[in-house]
C-alpha cells in the first residue's frame, strides 16, 4: 500500500479498487445468548446498601479504636457504650417517646409549610403580582436562618408548640416554594401548549400538566425542606426544649449533656442521624423510584 502511494508520486493518492460483495446475515435466533451471568462477587459489589454498610462498619470500627485509645468517655465515648446507651434509651422507652414528640411536631410544621408553599406558588403561577410577591419574599426570607426567628416567636406565641411550628413553617416554606416555582417556570412550552390544546386551563392545567412536569424540582424542594425542618427542630429544642412537659430529641440531648451522660448525648445524635437516613432512604427514595425515575425524568 505504502509503495503504491509513493509510486503515484502526486498529491492525489487514489484509494485501491476493491470488489463489491453482498452476503446473507445469520438469523437472530440462530445466534446463541451473547451475555454471561455476573460472578457472585460482582453481583455483591453492585449492591449499594452493601457498599455503604461496609463503609459504616469501617467508620464505627475507627471510632471504637480511637475512643478506646483516648479513654476519656466525657469527650468521646466508645461506639459500644453509645450503642449501649442507645439500647438503654429504647428499653426505658425514653428515646421512642422523644422521637414521637419531635416527629409529631415536625410533621405539623412541615404540613403547614407545604400548604402555605402551595398557596404562594399557585398565586405566583396565576398572577404577575403573585409572582413578584413570591420572588421578593423568597429572596428576603430564604437566606434568614429559621432558628433566628425563635426568640421573636417565643415572645409572640409563648413557650409552646406554636412557636416551634412557626419557625418550622419558615424553614420549609421558602425552600419548597422556591424550588416548585423554578420547576414550574422550566416546564417546556410544548407541554403547556399540549395541555391547552386539550382544553385545560387554570387549576386543571396546574394539576394535570404543571405539577407532574415540575415534579423533579418539587421533589428536590420537599427534600431540602425536610432537611431544613429537621435541623431547625433539633436546634429549637436545644434552645428551649420542654413544651408542656414533653420534650423532643433535642431536649433529650440537652438534658443528658447537663447530666454529663455523654454516651446518651451521642445516642441522641445517633437517633437524629438515623431518622434522617430512614426518611431519605425509605420515603424519598421510594417516591423517586415510583415517579421521576419511572418516568425517565431523572436517571
Amino acid at each position: 500500500m505504502a509503495s503504491m502511494r509513493e509510486g503515484a508520486g502526486s498529491a492525489f493518492a487514489l484509494p485501491p479498487t476493491r470488489t463489491e460483495y453482498l452476503r446473507e446475515v445469520v438469523a437472530g435466533q440462530d445466534i446463541g445468548v451473547v451475555q454471561a451471568p455476573l460472578t457472585p462477587w460482582q453481583r455483591l459489589a453492585n449492591q449499594g446498601w452493601l457498599r455503604k454498610g461496609l463503609l459504616l462498619v469501617a467508620i464505627a470500627a475507627a471510632w471504637e479504636i480511637y475512643a478506646r485509645r483516648l479513654n476519656n468517655p466525657l469527650l468521646v465515648p466508645t461506639f459500644s457504650s453509645t450503642l449501649a446507651a442507645f439500647a438503654d434509651g429504647f428499653r426505658g422507652a425514653e428515646i421512642p417517646e422523644k422521637v414521637l414528640n419531635s416527629v409529631a411536631l415536625l410533621l405539623k410544621g412541615y404540613a403547614a409549610g407545604l400548604v402555605l408553599a402551595t398557596i404562594f406558588t399557585s398565586l405566583a403561577m396565576m398572577t404577575r403580582l403573585g409572582n413578584d410577591l413570591l420572588e421578593t419574599l423568597t429572596s428576603a426570607f430564604n437566606p434568614l436562618p429559621a432558628i433566628a426567628l425563635l426568640p421573636l416567636a417565643l415572645i409572640w406565641f409563648g413557650l409552646g408548640d406554636i412557636s416551634i411550628v412557626f419557625v418550622l413553617v419558615h424553614s420549609v416554606l421558602w425552600a419548597v416554594a422556591l424550588n416548585a416555582h423554578s420547576g414550574f417556570r422550566s416546564v417546556s412550552n410544548t407541554l403547556r401548549m399540549v395541555g391547552r390544546n386539550y382544553g385545560l386551563k387554570g387549576p386543571r392545567l396546574i394539576f394535570k400538566i404543571l405539577i407532574p412536569a415540575a415534579f423533579p424540582a418539587i421533589l428536590t424542594g420537599l427534600k431540602i425542606g425536610w432537611a431544613f425542618a429537621w435541623r431547625t427542630l433539633i436546634a429549637a429544642e436545644l434552645v428551649f426544649g420542654v413544651s408542656s412537659g414533653r420534650g423532643g430529641l433535642g431536649w433529650y440531648i440537652y438534658e443528658h449533656k447537663n447530666m454529663l451522660d455523654i454516651p446518651a448525648v451521642f445516642a441522641g445524635l445517633f437517633t437524629v442521624i438515623l431518622i434522617g437516613l430512614l426518611v431519605e432512604n425509605l420515603v424519598f427514595r421510594n417516591i423517586e423510584a415510583a415517579t421521576v425515575r419511572k418516568w425517565g425524568m431523572q436517571s
Binding site: M193, G199, L200, A213, K294, W295
Partner: protein, 272 residues
C-alpha cells in the same frame, strides 16, 4: 397566474377552514415582527393541505394562529363557519418536539389523557378508543411503555395516535417529522398517508421540505418569507409528476416559484 389547473374542480362546497386576509404579528423584546401579511386560503374536508415555504415565511406562526394560540392583528379565521377564538380540541396539534408526550404517562394513558382532559370520553370508552388508534399506528405492544423508552419515530407515532383519537375537525402538524432521521421520516410519511387512506381526516401540514410537501399534500400553499405572503396554491398527486406542457417536475416547479426572486434579481426575467 399560477393556479391555472383549477378549472376541472367542481363547484366548491363551503370550506372547513377559512383563513381570510390574516396578518400575524408578534413582539420580541425589541421588535414588532410581522410574520405573515394578508394570507388567505381555504381548507376543505379531507384535504392534506400543506403550508410550504422557507424559514421565516411564518408558516408555523400561521399554524399556531389556527390552533388558537395567537390572535391575528388583521383578518379572520373560521372553522366550520365559527370564528377561532382560542385553543380547542377540535383542532389538535402534533408538534415537532418529542417532549409533547407527557413523560409521566404511558403510551395508552397519553392517548387517554387527551380524551379525558377534553371531556370527550372517559373510563372504558376512552381506553377502547385509545387502543384502537394505538393499534392503527402499530404500537399495540408498547401501550404500557413510558415515552422515554421509545425511539423518536415511535414517540411521533404516539403523538399522531393521540391526535387522531380525538377525531378533530382538523389535524395541525408542525413539521412533525423534521427531527427524525431520513429513513424514519420516509417511513412515517408513508404511514401518515396510509392512515389518511383509512380515515380521510383533514390535516394542515407545515413543512419546509419540497419533497415532503409533494409527497404528503394534495394541495400546497406556497409562502414567501419576511413577511409570509401567499405565492400560490398547487395541487399534488403525491408522485411528483412531470408537467406535459413544460416538461418539468412539480418539485422543480415549486423550487423555481419559491426561489424565483433570486433569479429575477440576477436576470430580470419578465413576468408571464
Amino acid at each position: 397566474m399560477l393556479a391555472d389547473n383549477n378549472m376541472s374542480a367542481e363547484p366548491n362546497p363551503t370550506p372547513l377552514l377559512q383563513v381570510d386576509g390574516v396578518t400575524l404579528q408578534y413582539k420580541t423584546a425589541k421588535h414588532l415582527v410581522t410574520a405573515t401579511y394578508r394570507v388567505s386560503f381555504d381548507v376543505h374536508q379531507a384535504d392534506r393541505f400543506v403550508l410550504l415555504g422557507p424559514s421565516g415565511c411564518g408558516k408555523s406562526t400561521l399554524l399556531k394562529a389556527v390552533g388558537g394560540y395567537m390572535a391575528p392583528t388583521e383578518g379572520s379565521m373560521r372553522l366550520k363557519g365559527a370564528p377561532i377564538l382560542g385553543p380547542g380540541a377540535d383542532r389538535v396539534f402534533v408538534f415537532q418536539e418529542f417532549d409533547q408526550l407527557l413523560p409521566w404517562k404511558t403510551v395508552k394513558h397519553n392517548v387517554m389523557f387527551a380524551l379525558e382532559a377534553s371531556r370527550k370520553m372517559r373510563g372504558k370508552a376512552a381506553e377502547t378508543q385509545a387502543m384502537r388508534y394505538i393499534e392503527k399506528v402499530n404500537l399495540g405492544k408498547f401501550a404500557d411503555s413510558y415515552p422515554h423508552t421509545l425511539s423518536g419515530g415511535m414517540k411521533q407515532r404516539v403523538a399522531i395516535a393521540r391526535a387522531l383519537a380525538m377525531e378533530p375537525d382538523v389535524l395541525l402538524m408542525d413539521e412533525p417529522f423534521a427531527a427524525l432521521d431520513a429513513l424514519t421520516r420516509r417511513k412515517m410519511q408513508d404511514e401518515l398517508l396510509a392512515l389518511w387512506a383509512d380515515t380521510h381526516f383533514t390535516v394542515l401540514f407545515v413543512t419546509h421540505s419540497i419533497p415532503e410537501a409533494v409527497l404528503v399534500g394534495n394541495r400546497i400553499l406556497l409562502l414567501s418569507p419576511h413577511p409570509g405572503q401567499v405565492k400560490g396554491e398547487l395541487n399534488s398527486s403525491g408522485d411528483d409528476p412531470v408537467d406535459p406542457a413544460t416538461g418539468i417536475k412539480l418539485s422543480d416547479r415549486i423550487h423555481e416559484i419559491l426561489f424565483a426572486d433570486r433569479v429575477e434579481e440576477q436576470e430580470t426575467v419578465p413576468h408571464g
